[in-house]
């Protein structure tokens, strides 16, 4: 009977009448789950970062952004940079502030890993709460949560300070709250939903469309519930205003600083660099932009633009491969639309799930994003959310059937995890994850390459620079080059970087601003976007007639060579800065 209770949770209620059960007392289930998950993810992160030397450069730059706010030459909030949505870096800040106690928080970007682990553990707690709401018994909940927690994509991004971990947390949270509000209509859930959706948008740009679609769903649900259009308006505002305020803070700040609220899209966000060594384009993300960098789509030969059909196909392929369970669950949901009431909520749920992949298709089509597997990571939590929704809808009506569905979900999710793991080993499909997947098998540390591992090269380069910069003169460099340097430099203030408010003025008039050196990457590839290369196209070749070569080396940023030039004369540019 005990076995049957495990397998068929709905039988548990009957069993309790007949036999004494020892209640498993968990003082605070959520806290326990969080702690266990967090510790596990930290262990994985330690293994990846300290043993395998795997740290995605984008994760490292996010920590660098937080570092710049606190410890750069010009500490200020705007130093967070406006390429990435700012929330992950904000969360890194308190951890980076403790670098004095443990330097790897900054030097090896581990602050980002801790932040990601914390959010990933939070997601496990959320899913557990959702499953409890769906009426799933504890053991079955924990099994499903475990399956989620060990999904390879989830694990990798729980160990890397990218935006995926916090994004998934807010994504799951907002949709769970939406589902609960759809049922209970408790007003307090509306602002919570709005805040979570807004926060998701501050982690990933694509979540802007999620927030918008959620607003549409609130309107649709509210209208269906009756009460007139004024009530609909009120409830839409109750959801929308918190979301808008959160998002507007970011857009508004961009508008003030860059006179463009959509700077993330129009500015130097993500670029494509055709890599002959690989079959498909490689994405190289900038760390913190130079203001003058142009949009990726304006640079001929840099962006690979796909047709709409190709975009749909590629996104769909990613969706299928990243987590095939979504197909089964979507089919179940569509089936419910035909047969059951409550289809408005089901349609809304589908819209929420489709929103981000649909946006990805569009952005891929116009060349603003790359064909990167993790861009469709939302499919994985969405599959789990669909499972929760299905279980909830079966909860009271078909208890035995819902038990069977729960078991089926376990199998489907488990199988999908296996498929995810296999896919991550395919470099064509998972360019960013394949190296670490291989390293997990070989247990051999990775060498810096492509878009990971730059943090390893930083100390070496800084050592070389310090040998060259004997008089400790200020070195000006674009953050896209020296993001891996200032965090590991003994004195971060040695570098005058892009986020410093006098960067432009100092780049134009270095001597006036106390700058003695320019650090410039090789103009090929990503180095073409370096601000100094833009201002002085001949700087790399011959010092542009105002600088003298002091030294050179390899590995400033991702696969770059660098040169250090000493300023010997006026640059000839009359800019006075911002």
């Amino acid at each position: 009977m005990a076995t049957a209770q495990l397998v068929f949770p709905r039988l548990r209620g009957r069993a309790l009448d007949r036999e004494r059960t020892i209640a498993l007392r968990v003082p605070n289930e959520g806290a326990v789950i969080w702690v266990l998950s967090f510790v596990s993810y930290i262990a994985v992160a330690s293994y990846l970062v300290f043993h395998l030397h795997y740290m995605i450069n984008d994760a490292y730059t996010r920590v660098d952004n937080a570092f710049n706010i606190l410890f750069s030459r010009d500490p200020h909030l705007g130093a967070i940079g406006f390429v990435w949505p700012p929330l992950p870096s904000f969360f890194d800040m308190p951890l980076v502030a403790l670098k004095g106690l443990w330097p790897p928080l900054a030097t090896q970007g581990f602050a980002g890993s801790i932040e990601a682990a914390a959010f990933s553990a939070g997601t496990v707690v959320l899913l557990n709460a959702g499953l409890r709401w769906a009426g799933v018994v504890r053991v079955m909940r924990w099994i499903i949560c475990l399956i989620w927690a060990v999904n390879p994509m989830v694990v990798i991004y729980a160990a890397q300070g990218m935006s995926e971990a916090p994004f998934i947390f807010f994504f799951v949270g907002s949709i769970l709250v939406f589902l609960r509000w759809s049922e209970s209509r408790r007003a307090v859930l509306l602002p919570v939903m709005g805040l979570l959706a807004g926060a998701a948008a501050l982690c990933r740009v694509e979540a802007l469309v999620l927030a918008f679609v959620m607003g549409v769903c609130v309107i649709v649900q509210s209208w269906g519930h009756g009460g007139g259009w004024r009530k609909v308006e009120t409830e839409a505002l109750m959801y929308g205003l918190p979301s808008l305020v959160v998002i507007s803070l970011w857009l508004g700040t961009a508008a003030i600083l860059f006179h463009d609220p959509l700077y993330l899209i129009h500015g130097n966000g993500v670029h494509f660099v055709p890599q002959p060594s690989l079959a498909s384009p490689t994405v190289v993300a900038s760390a913190a932009p130079s203001i003058q960098l142009t949009a990726a789509s304006d640079v001929p030969g840099i962006v690979k633009v796909v047709t709409l059909g190709e975009a749909i196909q590629r996104v769909f392929t990613h969706v299928m491969f990243i987590y095939p369970a979504i197909v089964a669950l979507a089919a179940v949901l569509l089936g419910r639309l035909v047969t059951r009431s409550g289809r408005v909520a089901a349609i809304c749920l589908l819209m929420l799930g489709v929103a981000i992949p649909a946006l990805d298709v569009h952005l891929l089509n116009i060349g603003l994003v790359g064909q990167i597997l993790r861009y469709q990571i939302s499919v994985i939590p969405f599959a789990f959310l669909l499972g929760i929704y299905v279980l909830r809808s079966l909860k009271s009506t078909y208890p035995v059937f819902s038990s069977a569905v729960a078991v089926a979900l376990v199998l489907v999710f488990g199988l999908s995890n296996v498929i995810t793991a296999l896919d991550l080993g395919d470099p064509q499909l998972a360019e960013e994850e394949a190296p670490v997947a291989r390293a997990l098998i070989t247990d051999k540390p990775l060498e810096p390459a492509g878009d990971y591992g730059a943090f390893l090269t930083g100390p070496e380069i800084v050592a070389q620079l310090l040998k060259l910069d004997k008089d400790n003169g200020t070195i000006l460099c674009d953050s896209s080059t020296c993001f891996a340097l200032n965090m590991v430099a003994p004195d971060p203030k040695l570098f005058l970087i892009t986020s410093d408010r006098n960067f432009e003025a100092a780049a134009a008039q270095p001597r006036t601003h106390g700058v003695e050196y320019f650090l410039v990457p090789q103009p090929g590839g990503f180095g073409a976007f370096d601000r100094l290369n833009e201002l002085y196209p001949s700087l790399w070749q011959n010092g542009a007639r105002f600088a003298k070569l002091v030294g050179s080396g390899r590995g400033g940023g991702p696969e770059q060579n660098w040169r250090l030039y000493r300023i010997t004369g006026p640059t000839g540019i009359g800019l006075q800065g911002r």
Binding site: P191, G227, R230, K231, M238, L241, L249
Partner: protein, 614 residues
């Protein structure tokens, strides 16, 4: 003087029938009322509409006592004033003259042994009663005891606890502080130079943050707790014993809402014979007096003319009326109020249920004209957040509660012991709430709404709001005369709450204007001095307050609209910052008036909304 001198043992009802004053049906109805509401038969006749004079004529006959028409009778005022006016009113007696070793005393109820004994004890001679109808007696008492009554109305609190009276705005130590503080500021400017202003900006930002956080915290607590006491219909129906309930209804230049007020009182679900309704009219308000005199008032209404002496304020009028209150409980309603019909019964249930620790039962206030225009919408939202969330939060946290200006129910005895209302304070409601808390009494919030008329005219609204701001400021100054005593009485939490509720409400409203102006200057022109005044730490705190603080309270308005299902008010909630700017201007005016006209009562005009709620 008229009436038999030999008692007539004929039952009163028979006498009334014989004299053709009532018919059989009327007698039966009066008997039934007597049995149901436990009143004297004479009162039952009056409650049924029989003229009081006629009833008292019959009573005089029954008692075998002479009766007089007091309106034209000479009264030895020196003799009369040997009695305490309040006691004379309470016992319904008035010494007329003395002679032959006896005092002739007019009495409404010569069979009242306590009244009899009191008169004899105070006059130190035997008394000879003469029957007088209560209304006639009261009118004459108002004239004879005018000086005492005015004195008590104006100075009772001052006499009891002068340090809690706003008869002066600033105490001597406070005046010293007012003189010394600028000198210290000048000295600091000399020493610190421009850093002083940065420090000042930091201090203001911090204080602003404290008030905003406090308001938000209390509001959230209030939203989550169930402090509004619900009284069920069965509980109301179980009431059998109804004490006399006094309603104090001050009117000043509000003849237009008189009929609505009378109607509202008629709709109260309370035995009419147990309602002691006092219409308080100002002596110089001839127009309203005229209209009242031409109106056929229900029998349970009494008109009191408040002498035009001393501060010309609503609390003084209420203090005057309180001296004539016969009720075990008293409540104030404003002229335009429409209380829920069962409110008195609900208050009674709460007083009985919660015991002696309850000093006040406060009903919720809201408006019957919320949609009239944008001002009324904002006002309605403000009241919703105040009564639905903020006050319940204060109650839940055990903090002092600034009462609303109307629908406060008190045990009459307690109100008198407290010194009643401060006639010099234009927010006497907030003040009495603070004093109740200091004395250890609780305020209970009842789930019952009194509808009022929201101000729909900007100038009118400005007057009202500036009066409230002035009152809050003065109340705060009064409480802060002896900070250590305040701390001892209400504890550190109560002391902090006083600063943040009274002082903070005024201060933040004034600061809002300055904050918005600085923000605008910064956004438009990026003026250097703004950047200087707000270095990084202060800037970020200020920016967080500006964005999140304003958003929070804007959202609160939205929440209130949803909570009350008043969806028509949603747009007003979104534009709330404009309302806050209006409040800022009003508070600045309040600050000025606190200096040059601290007791000036800016009258709020009512009757601007044409449709009455019934």
């Amino acid at each position: 003087m008229t009436g038999a001198e030999v008692p007539d043992h004929t039952p009163l009802g028979q006498l009334m029938l014989t004299r053709g004053l009532i018919d059989e049906a009327g007698l039966e109805a009066a008997l039934e009322l007597q049995a149901r509401e436990h009143v004297l038969l004479g009162e039952a006749f009056v409650a049924r509409g029989a003229p009081q004079e006629d009833v008292w004529k019959a009573l005089a006959t029954q008692w075998g006592l002479p009766r007089i028409d007091l309106s034209s009778h000479w009264v030895d005022e020196a003799l009369a004033n040997e009695l305490d006016a309040r006691q004379a009113i309470r016992h319904r007696i008035l010494p007329l003259r003395r002679g032959a070793g006896r005092a002739v005393v007019a009495m409404a109820d010569p069979q009242d042994a306590r009244a009899f004994n009191y008169a004899e004890a105070k006059l130190r001679m035997p008394i000879e009663p003469i029957v007088v109808a209560p209304d006639s007696l009261r009118r004459r008492q108002e004239t004879v005891y005018r000086h005492q009554l005015v004195q008590i109305a104006c100075a009772l609190l001052h006499a009891k606890t002068p340090e809690q009276s706003a008869h002066i705005t600033l105490s001597r130590p406070q005046k010293k502080v007012l003189v010394v503080a600028p000198l210290i500021a000048v000295a600091l400017i000399v020493l610190m130079r421009s850093t002083f202003f940065v420090a000042l900006a930091g201090a203001l930002v911090t204080a602003y943050a404290a008030v905003v956080l406090f308001r938000a915290y209390v509001t959230v607590i209030g939203a989550r707790s169930q402090q509004l006491i619900k009284v069920s219909r069965p509980e109301i129906d179980e009431l059998t014993d109804f004490p006399v309930y006094t309603l104090l209804l001050p009117l000043y230049r509000e003849a237009g809402v008189l009929s609505q007020l009378i109607s509202a009182c008629r709709h109260l679900e309370y035995p009419a014979s147990k309602l002691d309704i006092k219409l308080l009219l100002e002596e110089d308000d001839l127009e309203t007096i005229d209209v009242v005199r031409q109106t056929a008032l229900p029998p349970n209404f009494e008109v009191l003319i408040v002498p035009a002496e001393g501060p010309r304020t609503k609390p003084k009028a209420c203090n005057y009326g309180l001296q004539f209150a016969r009720g075990e409980y008293s409540v104030i309603f404003d002229a335009e109020d429409v209380p829920a019909p069962d409110q008195l019964k609900k208050a009674l249930v709460i007083f009985r249920r919660r015991g002696r620790l309850v000093g006040c039962v406060q009903a919720q206030l809201n408006y019957y004209n919320p949609k009239q225009n944008m001002i009324t919408k904002w006002f309605a939202l403000e009241y919703m957040s105040w009564f639905d969330f903020f006050l319940p939060g204060l109650v839940r946290l055990g903090l002092p509660v600034p009462l609303g200006g109307s629908s406060n129910h008190f045990p009459t005895r307690l109100l008198r012991e407290l010194g009643a209302w401060d006639p010099n304070n234009v927010t006497e409601d907030a003040d009495v709430g603070m004093r109740l808390h200091r004395t250890g009494y609780e305020t209970a919030l009842v789930d019952s709404v009194t509808l009022e008329e929201a101000n729909s005219d900007y100038i009118n609204w400005m007057r009202q709001r500036s009066r409230w701001g002035k009152g809050y400021l003065i109340s705060w100054l009064v409480l802060m005369r002896h900070p250590r005593t305040l701390f001892r009485d209400v504890g550190w939490r109560g002391t902090v709450a006083v600063q943040l509720t009274l002082g903070g409400t005024f201060g933040v409203s004034v600061l809002n204007l300055l904050v918005y102006l600085l923000t605008l200057l910064w956004l438009l022109a990026q003026l250097g001095f703004v950047q200087y005044l707000f270095p990084t730490g202060i800037y970020y705190i200020g920016m967080i307050e500006l964005v999140f603080g304003n958003f929070l309270f804007l959202y609160l308005g939205l929440w209130c609209a949803h909570h009350r299902r008043a969806y028509d008010l949603t747009h007003a909630a979104v534009f709330s910052p404009l309302y806050w700017l209006m409040a800022s201007v009003a508070m600045i005016k309040a600050g000025i008036q606190a200096v040059n006209k601290p007791t000036f009562w800016e009258k709020t005009v009512h009757g601007l909304f044409e449709t009455t709620p019934h």
